[in-house]
Assembly symmetry: C3
């Protein structure tokens, strides 16, 4: 079981690092800037989670994550060697995988550390959305969560599904995978059909 | 006494959550995005304070804060049901209440945890300004603290007043309330009359 | 030895505080806003480092840093009393000094706290770049690290040089100074000749 979670976690780090590298390419960063943006995106959410829960930050405990990020950034640069036109959707899809994986794994880790259920779901949401948020803020782009395609909902759903499946007696492994698939499906569907929830809208008058 | 501080703290969380929800309305976020922006605004400052002081983060210790934020966001959405024109000043006033409350309560909590006075005042300022800062940065708006109407000064004043009142023998309760009223008055006056301190201005020449 | 590191550390705080104050001047902040932006720039990186390593945050342990920042901000305001045209390069150079100093000192502190080498170099990079990043994000400016003049590379080089020098038997003092000089030279040369590494560039097609 430990093995599966570890591989999922590394996969989440890879897809978020990829999304950071793709974003870096839009801004014509130099290779070291690409590495930094990949790293911030990939570890940002988990770092905030671990700091708030006052546990050892995962990439300090296990530097393998740093090497995986470095490799991902270098491979992205090498494979996309010269200016190419990459479909915009690639970044969105990589981000969606990271979102779903980290939201569920973050909830699970928090529960294992003894956090109450609502706190664990919030932690999962933070793990899923914070890395991408920092990536977007650094690039001066409005974070995806502030646009309308079912972003925060997908993250929260992932955490809630895990809690429900696990409470109803599914094994931790199965609960994790089902919850990830659920959150991912919702987010990908929202991207594909460009579905949004009805927006809350205030227009302002001066004064 | 404990009771009073608790209510003031919850009130601070409510007004900052409200300011986050109002800001979300400007950007036409979906309901889950509204909840996230409300939460970030309401707990951002206190979270940074608790992490730096290495104490348990307040909303992890007591998840009631999360429910209060959820309720505030939902009520804001329900009450302002359809696109309405809300006076811009509402957001500023909610923010001012949160600023004054959190600056004083943050200073007090830090002192109780044994921080030296200058550190406690800085912690109070962080508690008061950081949530709103994160809210504004996420929305790609220049943070209020970088505009000119006596924002940082009001936060620092709140912390200093608390220290002075408490040192001169007023009870913790009375000191807290007087300091909050002082900081709030200053900030509201600055908003009302649009008073600013003289600005520090550098114009730049290239090279 | 302790003394030397302490002075270098204070010097790093001063130059970053100066860079924050100069940036504040561009945005016509009031004096208290200048102090806040100076402080955030000067302590941001080290605060994140200490929080992640779960050690006491340096300016909580020793409030002298807060006074130094306050003095730097006040002196900057007093010396540049009226709107003046300051060469843009001043801000870049102050930032370069802070970057080199903090990257090396951050790596060293992390190693002394028992972090593995790759973690320590990442911590040094965070210490060097995060304060300036927060400063730029708050001012809604694209962070320097996302522009092209060898910024992230200089920070990483500083940490690596320290590790190499120290491993090859140079004393901690000498290693520190040589590494700082190396990182600083690289960054200043990049600013002076506007050298950049080849950029990684993706152009995007919609879809």
């Amino acid at each position: 079981m430990f093995e599966l979670l570890r591989w999922l976690d590394l996969f989440g780090v890879i897809v978020f690092a990829l999304s950071g590298a793709l974003m870096a390419g839009r801004y014509k960063l130099d290779p070291f800037g690409v590495v930094v943006l990949s790293a911030v995106t990939a570890v940002g959410g988990g770092t905030i989670r671990d700091v708030i829960l006052d546990t050892t930050v995962f990439w300090v405990a296990d530097p393998i994550y740093l090497f995986v990020i470095l490799m991902t950034a270098i491979l992205t640069i090498l494979i996309i060697r010269r200016p190419k036109r990459i479909p915009k959707r690639f970044l969105l899809i990589a981000d969606a995988f990271g979102l779903a994986l980290f939201a569920v794994l973050g909830t699970q880790k928090s529960l294992n550390l003894g956090a109450p259920i609502p706190v664990a779901i919030v932690m999962g949401t933070i793990t899923g959305v914070a890395g991408g948020m920092i990536r977007d803020v650094l690039c001066n782009v409005i974070p995806m969560i502030l646009r309308q395609e079912i972003y925060a909902l997908a993250a929260m759903l992932g955490g809630c599904l895990f809690v429900v499946f696990h409470t109803f007696g599914l094994s931790e492994n199965v609960s994790t995978i089902c919850a990830i698939v659920g959150a991912l499906k919702l987010r990908l569907a929202a991207i594909y059909w460009q579905v949004s929830l009805p927006a809350f809208h205030i227009s302002e008058k001066e004064q």
